[in-house]
């Protein structure tokens, strides 16, 4: 029924004041900070002034970036609308902003706490490593808190009702949230990148310890070097030896081989590679590094990076002594004398090798002769060994530091994208505290996957070593049956727990396999294909899968809590 009374004339009440609108505090802060920096500069403290100005520049960049994001997210589209609200929410949230401020405060201050007596190369590597790792960690926390806080907050406060009754699907709503967080993360990563790059360049201008230090800064830090791993000079003979060893093992112990053939092959191959990387007394071992032809034109030197161990001697006091030949020439040779290297055992060393020594096919043959001293009470010197993999490699310039740095930041961003999707998926089903804990567990598992896998092995007493997935499953099953047979129930439970932990770890990507930070800090090339794989895997495939999971969970969830009894 339409009302029988006549409605009143609109009341011309005195309008309330328009209010303060947005609190425009930041112009005053910016002007004040600039004044403080000017004061420090005038007071003869240029380093502190530079640090303050660096923070100031980051804040200005942040504000400009936010304005750019708002312009970018203007479209009249549901997903974009949710993304825009997400960015606004991020700006209005206290904890994420506090963490962002920590990043802003962390970066300019870090160069100031480095020991000026330390070699510049190490200081730079320390700065790049810690600033990028610190920013990555803090931004991961920002991402988790933002994603869980936003979605759980929307569900708890029923704000989500207001959105989902509009013409938008639940998956679009989740996608919008993810897009908003990822764009906000992109801004923060860019700012952190600018801060780290500026800090590194400022640090580069500081005085070096000696000429070698300056050369190392230029050739080993501000660069992007590709890695060449050694191949056996007589590859076919080596393969034949391995095959023969496998055949012998199969003939000697057919039952053991039949239990785990792939594992046996892997183990025997690893054993032969280790033997090849071991240089006994008075033996010259050769290692072939190929594909170095581009390096001949790109730089004057390549680096032989090695980590030698003096076997059978206490590592803390041990030294290794060896002589080198590069493409059959003694190296280094001074005044006709072939010099011997004497280096501490068990740590990394870098030996510069002129690119002029690389032959036209781009090959470098490194021969190493053991010149170790004979230990007291022994008749022969100890052998020298190198860990297969990073224990012996040749690094050559393959790109610019800037390109590498950008790809490293891109990898960091992709990880945050994956983390945002994981947090949203968790929050689509769980309450805020549990969703945050779940997301943190995923993050920690991704960061420390290798370590956790080893820890599981130690816990259950089953060392998977270099075995394959199948052999690992067989190993665990065998162990489980054996423990059940002996009625060792607690140990059997541990094995079952290890299965569950392994299953979880197999679903989590390894951030270590998509590092980025170490590559940038150590001047190693993060190649474009490698970067694209990281971007595709962490920034696209995992987020899509996780958002799909979140959508299924949200779709099945009643978004109203029952109030009756």
């Amino acid at each position: 029924m339409i009302p029988a009374t006549t409605p009143p004339k609109p009341l011309d009440a005195e309008p309330i004041p328009a209010g303060r609108g947005r609190r425009m505090w930041w112009p005053a802060v910016l002007v004040g900070t600039a004044a403080v920096a000017a004061g420090l500069w005038a007071g003869g403290r240029p380093a502190a002034a530079t640090a303050v100005l660096g923070g100031w520049a980051l804040v200005v960049g942040f504000l400009l970036g936010v304005a750019a994001l708002r312009v970018l997210l203007q479209a009249g589209n549901g997903v974009v609308g949710v993304a825009r609200a997400m960015v606004d929410e991020a700006l209005g949230s206290r904890l994420p902003i506090l963490l962002v401020m920590l990043v802003v405060a962390w970066l300019p201050v870090l160069p100031l706490v480095l020991d000026p007596a330390e070699r510049l190369e190490y200081r730079l590597q320390f700065f790049l490593n810690w600033s990028l790792s610190g920013a990555s960690f803090l931004l991961a926390l920002v991402t988790i808190v933002l994603a869980c806080g936003s979605l759980c907050g929307d569900i708890d406060s029923q704000r989500i009702h207001m959105a989902l009754v509009k013409p938008i699907q639940r998956w679009q709503y989740l996608l919008g949230k993810w897009l908003g967080i990822v764009l906000f993360d992109g801004l923060l990563v860019a700012l952190a990148g600018i801060g780290v790059y500026a800090g590194a360049q400022a640090l580069r201008l500081m005085p070096e310890a000696d000429a070698a230090d300056r050369r190392a800064v230029d050739e080993q830090v501000f660069t992007a070097r590709s890695t060449a791993r050694p191949v056996h000079p007589r590859g076919k003979d080596f393969e034949a030896d391995v095959t023969a060893a496998i055949d012998r093992f199969r003939a000697d112990d057919p039952a053991a081989f039949a239990r785990d053939p792939a594992g046996a092959r892997k183990r025997i191959l690893a054993q032969h590679v280790l033997e090849w990387h071991t240089v006994p007394a008075d033996v010259v071992a050769s290692y072939l590094f190929t594909g170095l032809e581009p390096a001949r034109h790109r730089s004057k030197v390549v680096q032989l990076r090695l980590k030698p161990f003096a076997d059978n001697v206490g590592i803390d006091r041990a030294e290794v002594r060896f002589a080198l030949w590069v493409n059959e020439r003694p190296y280094p040779s001074r005044n006709g004398q072939h010099e011997t290297f004497t280096l501490p055992s068990g740590s990394f060393h870098t030996i510069d090798i002129p690119t002029s020594l690389i032959d036209e096919q781009g090959t470098l043959r490194i021969a190493i002769a053991n010149r170790n001293l004979v230990p007291p009470g022994e008749t022969k010197p100890t052998s020298i060994s190198f860990s297969p993999g990073k224990g012996l490699e040749v690094l050559s310039r393959a790109g610019s530091f800037e390109g590498n740095f950008l790809r490293g930041l891109g990898t960091m961003w992709a990880k945050l994208g994956m983390l945002a999707a994981a947090a949203l998926a968790a929050a689509s089903w769980l309450g805020f505290p549990i969703a945050v804990l779940t997301s943190l567990m995923i993050y920690i598992s991704a960061v420390a996957r290798g370590f956790l896998a080893d820890a599981i092995d130690i816990y259950t007493g089953a060392d998977r070593g270099d075995t394959t997935l199948t052999s690992m499953v067989r190993l665990r099953m065998g162990l489980l049956l054996e423990r059940l047979d002996k009625l060792e129930l607690w140990d059997a439970c541990k094995t079952v727990g290890a299965f569950a932990a392994d299953a979880f770890l197999s679903l989590v990507p390894s951030f270590g396999a998509h590092d980025g930070v170490t590559e940038v800090a150590t001047g190693r090339l993060l190649s474009l294909p490698q970067f694209l794989v990281s971007l595709g895997e962490l920034g696209l495939l995992y987020p899509l899968a996780l958002l799909a999971l979140g959508w299924v969970l949200l779709e099945r969830r009643d978004l109203v809590n029952v109030s009756g009894s």
Binding site: M1, I2, P3, A4, T5, T6, P7, P8, K9, P10, L11, D12, A13, E14, P15, I16, P17, A18, G19, R20, G21, R22, Q74, A75, G76, N77, G78, V80, G81, V82, R84, A85, D88, E89, L91, G92, S157, Q158, R159, H161, M162, A163, L164, V165, K166, P167, I168, Q169, D558, L559, V560, V562, S563, G564, S565
Partner: protein, 339 residues
């Protein structure tokens, strides 16, 4: 196309709708709604009445696709509640204002406008009109978190109208409003009904429902206990009221005599009473005329163009009621539709 549907078609249909909430172990915990049948036709103002916990809000949330019914079927504008095309034609004002506290009033409307895929220009125009309509122009740039409850209801109402909805679902729309704002919202609902909009009004304020609704369903314990037009439900056929100017005692005695000749008797003789609401509004209007100052949201302005110029008015029952001489000078409806 839904917009082409004819007046009188069924906009909301519920057949045997039941909702049972389950616990973590999927055991039935609460049966909030049980076997509800509803039918709301195009252009009706339909009231859903019931005390707290009677199942009104659960029913509304199922209509909006926020909850899945455990049993039964629901059709909104002929489609499933979660159908995106259907949602384009629905406006919803929840019982509480679930808004982002950090967004300003304008940004809030802009956000919801984006969800309806309105382009920038359309959003700006509609937001200007809606802010004027709900009287929040002056505070449009303040964060919603700083708004009073009444102001939040107003911005909530504005967001529910941003898409010029065909079907408006209002859950306790006058909750938290002062009598003036409450009156304005009721007038707005009446205006929209005249424009052919369908309104589902959920309230436990019986006066609001009686004032506005064509049909009413009364729920209790999750079930519809009574359903029909207000006239059907409220008319007492066994009695007759004759309204006359004040009668002296002698005339009353004569009337009593006449009735006695027909074996009837007067059961009650009393003077009619006006409603408290109309008295309140008259006092406020008088104070305003005397120039007494106040604060709060400004009075609502005219209905936004895109709402006012919608579908033509409905049948004869939708015409404005006649203005009593004692009421205010100009009706809000007349002013709202002046554009």
């Amino acid at each position: 196309m839904v917009a082409a549907r004819q007046v009188g078609e069924i906009d909301i249909a519920c057949i045997g709708v039941t909702k049972t909430f389950r616990d973590f172990w999927m055991r039935p915990r609460v049966r909030a709604v049980e076997g509800v049948n509803l039918e709301v036709r195009r252009g009706q103002v339909y009231g859903l009445l019931g005390p707290n916990g009677s199942g009104k809000s659960t029913t509304i949330k199922m209509l909006l696709g926020l909850l899945q019914p455990t049993a039964g079927r629901i059709a909104i504008l002929g489609k499933r509640p979660r159908d995106v095309a259907t949602k384009r034609l629905i406006g919803y004002l929840p019982e509480e204002s679930y808004l982002y506290r950090f967004l300003s009033g304008r940004e809030t409307l802009d956000y919801y406008g984006r969800l309806f895929r309105l382009d920038r220009r359309a959003r700006r125009e509609r937001i200007d009109m809606l802010l004027e309509m709900v009287g929040l122009e002056a505070v449009q740039h303040r964060p919603v978190g700083e708004y009073s409850k009444g102001m939040q209801r107003r911005i909530g109402l504005a967001q529910s109208l941003i898409n010029d909805p065909q079907l408006l679902i209002l859950d306790e729309p006058t909750s938290g409003m002062d009598p003036v704002g409450s009156r304005q919202i009721k007038d707005l609902i009446a205006t929209l009904a005249r424009r052919g909009k369908t309104v589902l009004l959920c309230s436990h304020l019986l006066g609001d429902v009686e004032d506005l609704c064509d049909r009413v369903a009364i729920m209790y314990g999750g079930k519809v206990r009574a359903e029909g037009t207000c006239a059907e439900l409220l008319t007492q056929e066994h009695a007759t009221i004759l309204e006359t100017p004040d009668l002296p005692e002698s005339v009353v005695a004569e009337v009593r005599g006449v009735l006695e000749r027909h074996d009837l008797a007067i059961t009650r003789v009393a003077h009619p009473r006006r409603s408290l609401e109309s008295l309140f509004l008259e006092i406020v209007e008088k104070a305003r005329a005397e120039g007494v100052k106040t604060s709060g949201a400004a009075a609502g302005g005219p209905v936004a163009d895109f709402l006012a110029t919608g579908q033509a008015a409905g049948g004869p029952q939708a015409q404005p009621a006649e203005t009593p001489a004692a009421a205010v000078d100009t009706g809000l409806i007349d002013q709202l539709t002046r554009r």
